[in-house]
Amino acid sequence: MKKSEALRQIKKLCGERATEARFECALYSRDLAPVPALLVDPLFKTVPDLVVCPTGAEEVAEILRLAGAAGIPVTPRAGASTVYFDSVPARGGIVIDLNLIKGVLELDEEMMTVTVKAGTTWSELERYLNARGYAPKSVPSSAPASSIAGWLCMMGYGIGSLKYGSLLSQVKWAEVVLPDGEIRQVTPDTDPPLAWFAASEGTLGIITKLNIEIRRQTPMKHFLLHSRALSEIAGVLTAVKDAEITPYNLHFTDEACVRAMSRQGIAPGSVDSGCLLAVDYEGSEAELHRAEEMITALVTGKKAVSLLPGEVAEREWEERYKSLKLKRSGPSELGGEVFLPVSRLENYLSDIKRLAGRYGLEMCSYGHVATPERMIIMTMFFADETRVFEYIMDLSLVKKIQDVGQRHGGYPYGVGLWNTPYLGRIFKVSELEQLRARKKKLDPKGIMNPGKLYKWHPMLNPFNFSLGMNVLAGIRRFVRGGGRG
């Protein structure tokens, strides 16, 4: 089928829920990352030819069948709260905006599961469940924007993961429209299995519905620890993480970040230096009581660690989705998100400090512990995207952050388009081969979100990328000066 004919039929199918208007399509050509057109446009076609907003699986299936017949690339997009152009087209084509596929379908109180449409946001689900005495087991810290399926298609770790595991481990089944238009219900035991779709970044099909485990909403207890000594707080973090009662949330903020917050007047408890550790528990009153005893004992034993007042800890919990507020100091923010072994936190931060000093800027780090072994740590610095040349030079430091992460056993959290040069760091060769085999099996025509996850654009091959970024970083250091190191 000709491309024009397929597009015509899709437009007819979706009626007013389809648009080719340049004004509209251009807005689907970016996510959070304001990468300058100068870098993007020569390599990628990020403005889609058509944006459609289907209302259910059948419509999605028909769109995929028509797109497949004409070989048109399709990019699924929900909250678009990602930063690696995951939901931005690399080769034009169709963007499927999934935000109309939303709503809670069924709450099963006996099985403790909820069936929800893919585009529902985590905050919407949380609100629905809380009103009935339940809660999601875990949520991304972008819950107000992130869709249920969007998080599954990414890494699926966030608040609550330490206690309840990854989102994948909580999903019982999902309804998926495969690239050929077949609608399937996938479980851990089907072929293809559910696990294939986790972290698949919209490259294997489109999820339209999910059945996920929930928990009872229980009381919570919040603690916010402060210390001027990183080693002390890192010790507490490990002790708390490995204690008999697992925290629901364990969030670390480093000294540079605290200073930046303090300058902005938003540091909790008005602290102006040192680092912070938020420890949040949920469970029965007895569990909370034991947790409190444990935290008190831990702090009592450590002179350099203090407990901020309870109301400050509570406010910090209420602000858990607002990590971006630091951006007011920017106006732009650049950074790297590293899936880091918890045990390496102290060393990682000490190298980051050295890196920041070398380039004469402040690098702020914060993040949550996602599993007993790893944490998602965001290291960011302020920039100004209106100074395009300087901004491009600043982009090179993102690689430097990832390099520090790699030295300590970390790798980028998520791939999308911009982290493809790190594929070799994220996956073992055998893992990558396996991923590519899945892609070939489910999407032989390669229409689903091409350009993401499996291979780099020739210009972004690891060698070129590394060389380019290192040269840029060198120029940056030379032109803008640096500090010690």
């Binding site: 509209e24 807005l27 959070l32 907003c53 109309l100 607002k322 507020k325 732009s332």
Partner: protein
């Protein structure tokens, strides 16, 4: 960013750059909920504003963009949701001002401005007819017009003054003040529009002329307590007249606040009303001014009333669709937004929905009638009057 929090707004250029495009604001925007396109989201509009004003790409200033900027009720839900504490409501006002400055204002706004400049009110009637509604009072109180030194000045607002459908509000407020024995007056024909329609369409300088006039009259009358029954008038008095009022002692209250005070002081004998009642928070009173408790205190003080909250209430309230002059540019969209709220009203099973803004009352009444719901829409003053009836 909430009304109670200090606005962190710097400049349009900087705030547009600060926006992280996270999309936290997307689902809370009633316009996006109806239209469903990225260009209708606060983040979509801000990213275009960034292109135009922060990056100087004037080509991005298209008619479609101007239309999207006008398709906003100024409800402030996006400000409440914003992850970077952008005072988006101020940002939208500034954006409309800039667009007007570039001569790209929608036609409907021009007509509105010309009418306001000519009549000093949003109707086409002479401003001298401001107190026509008072002819329906059984006993017109002494000093209703321009009584110097009165304890309270009631700022009636254009809609309540000139639109017969809204006349029940000033009638109820006046009767309540009389019942409570309050020494009050109004500015009569000297009351000019509060300036909100001009401010919200980008004509801030013209609006300033109106606020200056009103403030000078209040000072002339030696008034030290002003009570407004319109949520937007109240918001303007409270937040936009600060420089004009500097050094002058004026307590500014919304009728809900003043009536709650009178109720607390036992100035009304309240009879039982066997009704299930819900309350719709007007955006300019609730989210944008931080008044949530006063209306609820009044409702709870009326014996027999079973009060039920709407699903979205207080900071989280849904707009009625009537704000931001949306009706003048896209009445259909405004009505669809009201439809979302009416669905929630239906869910509560309430027989009465109370608001405290004549615009909300208008929007909800029309939509409730259209939906055939057996629900009465009332201003809080009307309900209170019924309770003392």
């Amino acid at each position: 960013m909430t009304s109670e929090a200090k606005s962190l707004f710097t400049t349009l250029e900087r705030e547009a750059l600060i926006c992280g495009r996270c999309g936290y604001c997307r689902n809370s925007c009633p316009v996006y909920r109806v239209l469903g396109w990225e260009s209708a989201t606060p983040r979509g509009k801000i990213s275009l504003a960034k292109e135009i004003f922060s990056k100087g790409n004037s080509k991005a200033l298209t008619d479609e963009f101007v239309q999207r900027v006008a398709q906003c009720t100024l409800c402030g839900a996006c400000a409440e949701a914003c992850s970077t504490c952008i005072d988006t409501r101020t940002l939208w006002l500034e954006l409309r001002r800039r667009i007007a400055g570039l001569g790209r204002t929608p036609k409907a706004y021009h007509a509105l401005r010309e009418n306001l400049l000519a009549h000093k009110n949003i109707s086409t009637f002479s401003n001298d007819d401001r107190l026509e509604w008072a002819q329906d009072l059984e006993d017109e109180p002494e000093g209703l017009e321009l009584k110097a030194g009165a304890e309270v000045c009631y700022f009636v607002g254009c809609v309540s003054s000139f639109f017969p459908q809204a006349a029940q509000i000033p009638l109820a407020v006046t009767q309540l003040l009389m019942e409570a024995g309050v020494d009050f007056t109004t500015m009569g024909g000297e009351e000019w529009c509060c300036g909100f329609p001009l401010l919200s369409t980008g004509f801030a300088d013209d609006a300033r002329e109106f606020t200056r006039h009103n403030v000078s009259k209040i000072k002339e009358l030696d008034i030290h307590t002003l009570v407004a029954s319109c949520a937007s008038c109240y918001h303007v008095w409270k937040h936009e007249c600060l420089s004009e009022l500097a050094g002058y002692d004026l307590e500014i209250l919304h009728t809900t606040e003043y009536l709650a005070r009178l109720v607390k002081e036992g100035r009304f004998a309240l009879n039982e009303l066997e009704e299930v009642v819900t309350y719709h928070d007007p955006c300019d009173l609730g989210r944008n001014s931080g008044v949530y408790d006063a209306p609820r205190e009044i409702l709870r003080s009326i014996p027999g009333i079973e009060f039920v909250e709407l699903e979205h209430n207080r900071e989280d309230s849904l707009c009625c669709g009537g704000g931001g002059n949306l009706q003048s540019v896209d009445a259909e969209l405004a009505a669809e937004i009201t439809g979302l709220r009416v669905e929630e009203i239906k869910e509560t099973g309430a027989g009465i929905v109370v608001s405290s803004c004549q615009q909300c009352e208008q929007m909800l009444s029309t939509a409730v009638r259209k939906a055939g719901l057996p629900v009465r829409v009332m201003d809080i003053s009307e309900l209170l009057l019924e309770a003392i009836g």
